[in-house]
Point group: C2
Chain length 242, copies 2
């Protein structure tokens, strides 16, 4: 079939510069904010008119960090199944898929027009920084909110899996208080991100003997390190400005 070419309408400005640590779906961390910055050519007068009356937005985007590698496979090992069972890629929401298209429902916090550019403030995101946006559409319950849906292989899993309990080293806590104007909100977000257990599932279910379970993710201008002490306790023990 013939190829189709798209021009991104803008990009996402997100506190996550990279994949590790990003919530596995939209809406998981309600207060995780980002901005969709529309490109000048898609910021024409009136293009956003009426959008602020909707509470939620669909963002159709490209998983660009995966698209660069160009690799996808007909089957995937969903983290929700512990990473050891295969499902068809079309039965999953895996980012590593044909065309690398993502689709997330997010909350609209506000729309700002500044210097002939449109900025859409959103929350509940699961996108990384510089994500190219292909389209945005209002969430319309009439067609999008379905009743009596069946959750396929996900149905076998609990709606909320047990989360990690997260503690902070006193050094990290002090650092955040010194550097962030809204420290308590920042601490809360870091806690929620790590509580989701961003570790790859093969390390989660089979930690190697003697291996230090240290991980680092980048968020809001920092590299943040955590240590998984037991199966269910994570300690934030390092933070470095990027």
């Amino acid at each position: 079939m013939e190829e189709i070419t798209f021009r991104p309408i803008g990009i996402v400005r997100s506190p996550f510069p990279d994949k590790f640590g990003v919530p596995r779906r939209s809406g998981l961390i309600k207060n995780l904010k980002a901005i969709i910055e529309l490109a000048p050519e898609f910021s024409q007068p009136g293009i956003e008119k009426g959008l602020s009356g909707f509470s939620h937005l669909w963002v159709i985007f490209q998983f660009h960090k995966y698209a660069i590698k160009k690799t996808w496979s007909p089957t995937v090992r969903p983290p929700r199944l512990g990473g050891n069972k295969k499902m068809g890629v079309f039965a999953s929401r895996s980012p590593q898929r044909p065309n690398f298209i993502g689709m997330s429902a997010v909350k609209i916090d506000g729309i700002v027009r500044k210097k002939d550019r449109v900025y859409i403030h959103i929350s509940g995101i699961d996108m990384i920084d510089k994500t190219p946006v292909l389209d945005i559409k209002p969430y319309i319950a009439d067609s999008d909110r379905l009743n009596n849906t069946k959750r396929g292989w996900i149905a076998k899993l609990p709606l909320k899996k047990p989360l990690l309990k997260v503690t902070f080293s006193s050094g990290v806590r002090e650092f955040i208080k010194k550097n962030e104007t809204n420290a308590s909100e920042f601490i809360k977000l870091v806690r929620e991100i790590v509580a989701q257990d961003p570790r790859p599932s093969y390390l989660r279910s089979h930690p190697r003997k003697g291996q230090k379970s240290e991980f680092t993710f980048s968020f809001g201008g920092y590299d943040i390190g955590f240590l998984v002490k037991e199966q269910s306790i994570a300690c934030i023990n390092r933070i470095i400005s990027l």
Copy 2:
């Protein structure tokens, strides 16, 4: 921004060869069926594994009949507002939009693998024949079914607008009975399609004096004509095999 190129994963086989008559959103006519035919290169073994356990599917596609013309405008006149009020294109689900990307939630009726090709039977469609499909994803209520959403400018409108009452001329009825094996189901579908009032909104609200309100749409291998007798009664009075 850099352009992004996609390879369609397949096409939709739909009873609508053209735009006129197609329901204005997915799920409006529950029994309207179509088939997503995956291209050979996207029909690898296992690619659909686990999909049949889900009840619903997101189809991300290209509004190709609009994409050919390449025209879109920053503002649109939504039919739901009578066609005389302007809204920003990003506050609408208009097909005539940047990148011409559509997104519909449909029901999965079944998945068939035949001669190394995958065919996904769906219903509740709003897509025309030969629609290029960019991606399919399972509908997952956890992230897709939102609560307490606000419907923006659509909130001013009733959830279901008054529908047309549809009658059939006896000639058309006889023709369908002779030519269709499941005539009653076919009649029911035609009735539901016309009941949605596919007329352009400017003709709906301001019928020209003396103008015959005759319209023709193509469906399931036929050209079907109807006549709007009064504001709310449509008579199916013509049918021709294509």
